[in-house]
């Protein structure tokens, strides 16, 4: 019985190996042509704000040529645009950079469809001023409650990280007057700002836990002499 079983098993193994090798051979022949379509991996900018650009979508999918953008709109060399100091949404609205096409006619306007290029931050925003600490989850607000970027940006909150935190009026009093979170958290659209404090306020303990700060780490060894 065992001896009859062995050749079958070998056949199956060999067959599956052939299948796998065949599959990899086909993908090798249809390999992405970087010379024709540009870099395969998306370009990811960190400054002035995190954004990504996928060459493949623009060339392979939409049929643009390299010289559609290079070098009039974007230099070939990496890092030129963010270093220009002018790589902003305002400049794009004036037709620079992506705004050369993303003007609402040729392609979607640069002040719409934010998440086509900008990702909703995965990590929670953690404010430590004026009090430690307050969390905000983009995902909960966009995915669970269906808000768009422009529900809050730029009227209630500037896009720029730390803008609210460093503003002197980023206080509960301002929230009660409808500023910042208070634009929605007014008791009608969303729960009122003066209720459910600890939904957003995680405290110093919550902050330390989130940041992996070891409790009492800084307080050790103060009494070695005794």
């Amino acid at each position: 019985m065992k001896k009859e079983f062995l050749p079958v098993a070998v056949a199956i193994l060999a067959g599956s190996f052939l299948l796998v090798s065949h599959a990899s051979a086909t993908s090798a022949t249809e390999e992405y042509d970087e010379d024709a379509f540009g870099p395969q991996d998306p370009i990811i900018w960190d400054e002035p704000a995190k954004a990504s650009f996928d060459h493949k979508i623009h060339t392979d999918d939409y049929g643009l040529e390299c010289d559609s953008c290079h070098e009039d709109v974007f230099a070939m060399e990496q890092g030129i645009a963010p270093e220009s100091g002018n790589f902003t949404m305002a400049a794009m609205a004036e037709g620079q950079f992506c705004g050369a096409c993303h003007d609402g006619d040729t392609a979607f306007a640069s002040n719409t469809n934010c998440i086509a290029c900008h990702a909703v931050p995965e990590d929670p925003i953690v404010w430590t001023k004026p009090v430690k600490a307050v969390v905000f989850y983009h995902k909960a607000h966009t995915e669970d409650y269906g808000l768009d970027c422009d529900s809050c940006h730029d009227e209630a909150f500037a896009m720029k990280a730390g803008a609210a935190e460093n503003a002197p009026d980023f206080t509960m009093k301002a929230l009660y007057k409808g500023k910042y979170c208070g634009a929605c958290h007014d008791g009608e659209t969303a729960f009122a700002s003066n209720t459910l404090c600890n939904t957003c306020h995680i405290g110093k303990k919550g902050y330390d836990r989130m940041m992996g700060v070891e409790p009492h780490a800084e307080k050790k060894g103060t009494h070695g002499g005794h």
């Binding site: 004026p130 430690k132 404090c197 995680i202 405290g203 303990k205 103060t222």
Partner: protein, 254 residues
């Protein structure tokens, strides 16, 4: 007394005295002893009239404040966001060493999950300045006592021998050993650091951005703490009421 009726009852013998009878007898005995010893043995504090609550309330009743001023604190607990500005202010004002077991005030955290949603609660704690302070009762040198002027439980560092019996006795774990003073130290409602200088509130209360800590004289009907304690529709509680220490730190939700 109907003797004829009682004679029909079965004799219960001396081993089964009803508990009420037993209790009355004990009370009588204790009362007699108390009288002979001038009340000092039985009363838990040196202040004989110390009372903190009536039968169904943790709030002191009118006319039962044995101190000239009677300081206390109300915590509007659900307003606390654990920003710990109070802790920093306390450490700075009262020179509390930066060690994890040395604190005059602290914030406790409780995490629970309700219907899959994480809930967090914060509770500020400090010395409860009890009317019947177990720490005072156990101190062998009278180094800790109720200040008759203010009702604050204070320390006389010179008398403290560092036996830590008060630390063990305190139901609120509100005492720590100060290596600098080589004595037990604790919250004293900023008596020496702020109240003596004419300040009206403690460092923690002054630092709180969320209006959690309301400090004041609960005897004075014009104070905010008095008004908060006497809002009829508010539920007020204390920590560990069952230990009978009659604390003067009260908790409510804002």
């Amino acid at each position: 007394m109907n003797v004829e009726e009682l004679e029909k009852e079965k004799n219960e013998g001396v081993n089964s005295i009803p508990s009420t009878e037993r209790r009355n007898f004990l009370k009588m005995g204790l009362a007699v002893t108390g009288v002979f010893l001038g009340g000092t043995v039985l009363s838990l504090t040196s202040v004989k009239t110390a009372r903190g609550g009536n039968a169904d309330s943790v709030i002191p009743a009118e006319g039962q404040y044995p101190y000239t001023k009677h300081y206390g604190m109300v915590m509007r607990q659900n307003n606390c966001i654990d920003c710990e500005k109070c802790l920093d202010a306390c450490r700075e004002t009262n020179h509390v060493p930066l060690e994890h077991d040395a604190w005059r005030t602290n914030i406790q955290e409780r995490l629970t999950t309700v219907d899959g949603v994480e809930k967090r609660e914060f509770r500020p704690i400090l010395c409860n300045h009890c009317n019947r302070p177990p720490c005072v009762r156990v101190c062998p040198t009278k180094a800790t006592y109720k200040d008759p002027e203010t009702g604050i439980v204070v320390m006389d560092y010179k008398k403290c021998i560092g036996c830590k019996t008060c630390m063990a006795a305190c139901p609120y774990n509100a005492r720590y050993f100060s290596h600098d003073k080589y004595a037990i130290d604790k919250c004293n409602f900023c008596l020496d650091t702020r109240l003596a200088a004419g300040e009206k509130d403690t460092a923690c209360a002054a630092a709180c951005p969320a209006d959690v800590r309301i400090f004041g004289d609960i005897k004075d009907t014009s104070t905010r703490i008095y008004k908060l304690l006497h809002e009829p529709d508010k539920k007020i509680w204390v920590i560990r009421p069952e230990c009978g220490a009659l604390p003067n730190v009260f908790y409510m939700n804002a």
